[in-house]
Symmetry: C2
Subunit: 171 residues, 2 copies
Amino acid sequence: MKWDELEEEPCSLARTVAVIGDRWSLLILRECFLRTRRFEGFQSALGITRHLLAERLKKLVRLGVLRRIPYQESPKRHEYILTQKGLDLYPIIMSIVHWGDTHMVDERGRPLLHEHKSCGKMFDPVLVCSECGEPVTAKGVHVHPGPGKRVPRAAADLPKAAKTKTRSRAV
Amino acid sequence: MKWDELEEEPCSLARTVAVIGDRWSLLILRECFLRTRRFEGFQSALGITRHLLAERLKKLVRLGVLRRIPYQESPKRHEYILTQKGLDLYPIIMSIVHWGDTHMVDERGRPLLHEHKSCGKMFDPVLVCSECGEPVTAKGVHVHPGPGKRVPRAAADLPKAAKTKTRSRAV
DNA sequence: CTTGACAGTTCAATTATAGAACTTTAGTGG
DNA sequence: CCACTAAAGTTCTATAATTGAACTGTCAAG
């Protein structure tokens, strides 16, 4: 499967992985949330090669996650800022950071602590149900086919006999 | 930067990206949450090459995200199941799926809908503050250095004059 | 008129991934 | 006994992605 095919899959996870599922995109986006905006800033903060950084920034702009806006004329210079689509990635970033805080810290503890401005306390992010407000777990979720569901790649390609039975599943 | 170095970074996001930040790991984990457990199951559902699948499964086992347990003797066969560490990835997966549902769907709508068993309603996941229960946004969060904070790579490698000023930042 | 910053581009060398065939252990049907 | 199938990998070559380093173009300052 190529990256482009990934974008076409009838799966919201696969389509999002097509955007952020590589070694660098999430790190670049972390820097965006840390208020880095310029090429040199990303490059020196991350140690990414300039070649790849240019490529990834282009891709994120093409996908509508970043916007490239001029901040000076002569010589023309641009900076990269998060669009709303980009800002909406924050829950993903926070969930990732929280998992790292829980499972990947060394003896010395967390690299960063987060304060929720509106309540003033150090907090952890919790994923809850939009309807009842209770925390969401894998076992507590039942999945139904939606309008955008297609027969998955594997089942479509394989002979009829090989089709896997469908079942309610937790993603 | 190599994958191994990524694991060492004093950043919970980088360390988590070292685990799931490639083309396939998240898709394999999606299948795990969809109750796939066996080699052939992953392979036919994803279309990943067998070579890479074997490698990724090994990696996820080594990192403690999956456990490899025998389900029959002669011939010895094993299946892969999520550990608690793996189950804890669910908020990341759900956040990713939700972003895809919001920003990457075609005209036909979402591939899947999610029902929250305990309240019986179709829902979206919302990230809230563990302390006050209010939704978390990038702008509403203030970051403080934690005990595991080290001077970042870039600042440590560069001459003193080039050190970037520290600032409270939103990741 | 030389130096430096910024935002890239170019190119060779190294790694990773894709695609396909092959291996091992065992069960099944004839 | 023999061919065929299945699961779970392994091995191999070709192709694609990434790295590392140098190079380009525009302007400003000294």
